[in-house]
Amino acid sequence: MEPTESRSRASSSPLLSLLGGLALLAVGGYLASGVKAAQGTVQAPPTTLIFSGGVQRFAIPDCIARAGDEAGREACRTVSQVLRSDLRFEIDQNQFVPEASMSFIAALDPDAPKFKDWESIGAGYLVITKASVTQGRLQVELRVHFVSSGQAMLQKAYSASVENPRIIAHQAADDILALTQIKGVARSKIAFVSDRDSTKDRRVKELYLMDYDGFNQRRWTVNNSLNILPTWGPDGRSLAYVSYRQGTPMLFQALLCEARSVANISGEKGSQAFAPSWSPDGKKIAFASDRSGNMDVWVVNADGSGARNLTSNAASEMAPCWSPTGQEIAFTSNRTGAPQLFVMDADGLNVRRLTQYGSYNDACAWSPAKDRGEIAFTSRIDSGFEVAVLDIASGEVRQITEGRGSCEYPTWAPNGRHLAFSCNRSGTWQITVSDRDGRNVQSLAAGPGNNVQPDWGVAAACPVG
């Protein structure tokens, strides 16, 4: 029970003591389940691994390639860099052993780590990666050890094309984060809209997909029209979006595994449809349509049947977003003379005003974290627009972005810990990410052209064969 002692030592405040106590329980449970595993019964995954006071830190030494394996060495560089960056995205900086201090101890022997050395530089968890490349396939072994006991708490092996070391690092990061009770998003993807394919005479907007960190950007639509407002389906294999390719803006569904789109999924007849939002169970789509004569929020079954107007009102209603429970829908209405956020039950009843603040609020995005009750939105502040977050219970609003120009169109990371939005601080619009308090703002995808309307989702693998 050495590890719990070092944890208790770290506890210098009541909160930390509590955390330390929890960690003790968690480690005890973990070891107990480990014993069972050794006896051959199926073990439960470790319930938790709680950081206490920054003492149990991660050490992530460089990935080690098989001797003489040049391709493996090359892949290793990317694996280490991406793995560190993925973990730092979710975990506070001070939970990592600085790479510089690893030079004070003997080089890692991945098959027989000297745990005392790692303990001496403050490592609580040692993350070992080994790589080899055989016939164009990269194989990476991952082990995470408790430094104090030397026990392996996680052991995995992954393979991918040697062209794709990032995907291995992303999966390894999510597997490590699972030990800390964080549902990682390193394998998640962001859909967005880019005008980079425009020419002088032809201004187009096409849908793109990219990894959550801005890499692997890929154009999805190719129709030289306007394709906007993408939103991930809960199945992770489809997007709903708006396309003007048939002249009238209507809802399309991109079937990502089949490389094709289905047109007019809301069954519009000559009217327009905008701003699709899937219900969390994927059975319904809320959207905005002018089919009753002015813009209202409608809901339709995912198969196009049963379309129903939820906001029969002379004002314009727009931009619906579902609550993560599926029981409510927030939206924008200008019924008070200016755009403000409202919320209603999913059947259209019980409408309440949400934003009492500011003169112009739009583009809601409800946090997928059910325990938080937060809605991100775009708000006019002075002469520009900024992203803000409303705490529904208290009505308090916190401003996420601030600065020259504007930021708009927020979307939540699938675990609710970060936000992505689009900012024009640099002169062009670019996808930008921050944590949920607005810290650690970084611009992604500084690709060509303007890159806007991000939607962050969990992508599922397509069936193979």
Binding site: A152, F274, A461
Partner: protein, 180 residues
């Protein structure tokens, strides 16, 4: 016989044990004591079926109508955040109505456009209000409603890509695209 049966049940037990081991969930972390053993975990192939590697949609035809520029009828302009018609706008619409009366086969898409200020969704709603205001006035001047269709472009396809008052004024407009 007894020995055979023992042998047989032994084999069965071994096979069952193999089966159990074979079916153990892959994603469960394994715990070991002492020096780390060689990996016993199954290798997870990660890059099969990645939606980013499946290829995008094939080339699909675009409706090039609604390009937002040109045509026989002049644009109507709007004030900032406004969808009401000015006297100047009414005068232009009267001329457009004359053109439509003289070209009775023509069908027209009335496009509502906005300047770049404001949110994507609000501007799509505002563009729709502008298109509808222009359409309704043309109908009040005797143009058949069935010849007119409204489409909002919001701020998605500005006429002028500039970022100043002049560009914004040009972009706040209803445009009339003849589709037939």
């Amino acid at each position: 016989m007894t020995r055979q049966r023992t042998l047989f049940s032994g084999l069965l037990a071994a096979m069952l044990a193999l089966l159990v081991v074979g079916c153990a969930p892959k994603r469960k972390p394994e715990v070991s004591t002492g020096p780390p053993p060689p990996p016993r975990t199954a290798i997870e192939p990660l890059d099969t079926g990645d939606v980013n590697k499946m290829g995008g949609e094939g080339v699909t035809g675009a409706d090039v109508a609604g390009s937002g520029e040109g045509g026989p009828m002049a644009d109507v302009r709007f004030g900032f955040d406004q969808s009401s018609l000015t006297d100047e706008a009414r005068a232009i619409l009267a001329k457009n109505a004359q053109w439509l009366q003289a070209h009775r086969d023509a069908r027209v898409t009335v496009e509502g456009h906005c300047d770049e200020r404001g949110t994507v969704e609000y501007n799509l709603a505002l563009g729709e209000q502008r298109a509808r205001a222009a359409r309704d006035y043309l109908v009040s001047l005797g143009v058949q409603a069935s010849r007119l269709r409204t489409v909002s472009f919001g701020k998605e396809r500005p006429l002028d890509n500039g970022h100043g008052e002049d560009a914004w004024a040009r972009n706040r407009r209803a445009h009339f695209a003849v589709t037939r």
